[in-house]
Symmetry: D2
Subunit: 312 residues, 4 copies
């Protein structure tokens, strides 16, 4: 585990420690080397400096290094013959030059992930939104030229374990605000890349919630035609997926807390001239939005069963 | 004060106690008669049964009785020659038969309020949304036939001081969810009535935040044409309004907590073919969204200065 | 599971569903019969009326019925030949007539629990406090005649899933208060009964925290003599206990969230004439303080391994 | 205002802006010079570098500079002939050499404050605790040689507006913990100095609450003899105090939020051999515990009415 001291890194260390077939070869964190951190769910990990460890002590490395710093370490790991799941944005689709590296939105890219040496793990917002809209797009249900309006709210761990004044408890409690507006958030690139070729546009507005974990996306989708059964496209797509819960009820953050699932539903919008659907999608940003999905991908890359060691 | 034991009622009692020209003639709450409640900001009030008081001990009555129960008491107060600000939905525009009673969205209906014997105080969500979109609509800036997408999130006091399991702390903390979806929330009627005659449709999705107070509305508006200065329509409209803060920054709930203001900004949405604006509007649902606006209206009805006794 | 719809009941249903050797024969909740509830960690349960089920479909029944109502169902289950872990206060030591029923503070009563047909599961506060003070008392370290001052703070789920105005999110967030003061809380009886015969007195003050789960007890203990190693009494006592974490660091609620453990430490108090110790003890009130400890006891009563199916 | 960018500094700027007789001559914050900050309750302030302002533009300066840095600026202000209220610990009683500077616990030191050129404003915890125990001590009600056990819990703004990982929302929400234990917190010095000469010892344990503001102290006091009326000593002492609320009810943090008051009650402890009292005391750490009390002192130093410009 490279860059293990942040929220996603610690979550992944905890998953690895409980995994029936994996063990934790190393956990690096230059700024906290020698320190021991308590892990979610119990247990602890002591951090090494990245330069002090032999990368090839592991068959597969997870990198939760900061955006920008990760790509270099992915390259080093590859030289050492180590497979990598990169949780940073560095190698993701839509972020600069085409890399040919699979985008690890597992349910949509399973075959490419299975054979890959490197996988770019999706961002948390894109995971929440893409799993909700791709069934509609691939089944041709969206109105041509439509603007898909993605309004999403995230818990503060999405911003990482960084000492920022605006993330202090005193600034977040009893507060709520939008940020990264004007369609300017970095995650929009991945989402756009994944809907390329479809005749739609994306509008994305993230908000910051006074909760530790979780993302709820409320997505408005103009339809080609009204749907007789609004859940059918999702049920058809995800019937055999262990980590996707299609439900008639509106999803809540608490239902996905600590779990590697997306929970989603859809509702027709009444009283508008054009047929319109709203899709509601909830994930734990640190699990299905980061560490959990990374482990899902790693299991596939290592020839293990995909759900192994994952809290459903 | 009729129906004084709820969140809005207590807030209003507290405002009246501190008002330089008003005093509290009575505060009724049948279910809590004889009990004394601590008021926000200090002080307390003891509740009477509604039948035990003489309505005409006051020149003006506020009613924060439940929807359905309020209309009858408004009628009684009128018979007793008492002016009324009704905080329930019973007499609001769009809620059934045309009543001719002014809708107390003060900044847009000041003249009608000033002379009225009864005023229907707006709902909290409509206050937040209408103050944000009416400048664009009245200035002809919205694309004809547009769907205005109102995504709003409210603190739990918006649901009232009612003993519901789903409003317990244990159910709300670290949680977030949509509700009243499919364009079905009661407040939509008021909003639609206020944009009647404009060639637009409204889509409204409320969400429940883990905060006590505050509403943030994120509103997407397709424009007739891109705006050279996105704040100009709001600044023009609200230049002399003491309770509307047009600001370049994104508003936050904490900035309006305990204050009788709307704080709003607008941003152009990038990367879409059609010119599109987002308006962000924050209020304290108990102040500008209920008690504060009610007092603004009462001041006008009593010939007092509109801002008298109102925080900021 | 009798009385399955409350917080402890749901937690226990979730544990049973994931248990490798147990399955859920029934889950009763008269007020919610026919309803389906989402369980912590995923999965769901549908409630039956208590009268509609055959008690002997299970070998062992958990009762999380309200205090007062539970004793009758425990009797019925016994008649049907079903073992019972009773989570109510009805049969606990110190609550009225001597029942001879073991008090299921597992680490201190393991042998009695193992052979029992009925076990009274301890209250959450007593679990937190007794595990912290019993090692000092049984090792004769406490000053004769001492007053042990137990200051404890609990999350709101400790008050149950009941529709009380004072437990609404709007009343709890950004708030904190003592309750049950003057040494009057029901849980004090169990604690006193468990220290009977020792020459000490107990002072207990509970407080209500704005968190969903967790109890932290800060306990001041006058010592017979200063201790060379303040952790030694606890390490000696609990060396082989899987669910007790003795640590040099101050325990935090987050470290025990969702886990069936007590995490505790001790510190000498400086600057006082009399040698004095403070013990800090953290539990998850719904796990080690209720459902988890109940399952620990049930495992023993059924001849299973004590830690089976328990998180950490 | 020197050191105006922290929580107490901003609170004080907001109070000054609304004060009927004071105006804000300057607000310094070297690290944020040129920046504009939103103030609690509305309005804003732009910070200057401390070196860029003429201290004597004000008749009285408040210093909320960090402990250690403040003393130097107090000296500079004095040279410039400016009175000072120092909110840091630098000049407080018990913190090193005797300074002769009045300790601004206003209700107990009013006369000394009135004539002073410099006042050391008390810490938040000492304000909460001393106002609760001094009436008992000065009236000779405490058992000789008693240990007064002060258990206090504070909101996170007490730790200041500093970018510390352990103060992030993600680390504080749903959490609670003790800190500064073993009787080692800095504030203990002030408390001990203020009870010097009384035959008592103090034990003080602070805890960190998941709330923004507020301190609740639960204080156990062994009495010389049982009291016929436990509130009488407080009512006698504080009968004419505008900022002290003696109440039969247990105080809650929400009751003092944003207000310059201490709200306190007392309860006899039942079931102990020795007569024992518990005192419960709630303040807003930023108001009565910092900015509000500072303004109370400043009003006296400037010959204004003590309550001027203070909420409630």
């Amino acid at each position: 585990m490279l860059g293990a001291s942040g929220y996603a890194g610690r979550e992944l260390c905890a998953l690895i420690l409980r995994h029936p077939r994996l063990s934790l070869a190393y956990a690096t964190a230059n700024s906290q080397k020698g320190e021991t951190a308590f892990l979610p769910g119990g247990g602890s990990v002591t951090f090494d400096a990245a330069d002090a460890i032999d990368l090839d002590r592991a068959k597969l490395a997870f990198s939760a290094l900061p955006h920008g710093a990760s790509a270099e370490w992915v390259a080093r790991a590859r030289e050492a013959g180590v497979k990598v799941v990169d949780l940073s944005a560095d190698l993701r689709i839509g972020n600069g030059a085409s890399t040919g590296i699979p985008y690890g939105l597992t349910e949509w890219n399973r075959d490419a992930v299975r054979g890959a040496a490197v996988v770019a793990n999706p961002g948390c917002y894109p995971t929440s939104a893409l799993l909700a809209i791709l069934p509609l797009l691939t089944q041709g249900l969206v109105a041509p030229g439509a603007v898909i309006n993605i309004q999403a709210s995230s818990g503060v761990t999405g911003a990482g374990l960084t000492a920022r004044l605006d993330l202090l408890f005193g600034e977040i409690t009893e507060n709520y605000r939008a940020y990264g507006v004007g369609n300017s958030h970095r995650h929009l690139k991945e989402m756009r890349a994944m809907v390329e070729g479809k005749d739609v546009e994306l509008l994305f507005t993230p908000h910051l919630l006074p909760v530790a974990r979780g993302i709820l996306s409320t997505i408005t989708v103009p339809l080609r035609a009204a749907l007789p059964d609004v859940l059918a496209p999702f049920r058809a797509q995800y019937a055999s997926e262990p980590f996707i819960e299609v439900t008639p009820d509106l999803p809540e953050l608490r239902q996905v807390n600590g779990r590697n699932v997306v929970r989603l539903t859809a509702r027709a919008v009444d009283g508008l001239r054009a047929p319109t659907l709203q899709v509601f999608s909830a994930i734990d940003n640190l699990m299905k939005g980061a560490a959990g999905q990374a482990l899902q991908n790693a299991n596939l890359m290592l020839g293990l069963e995909e759900p192994m060691g994952l809290p459903q």
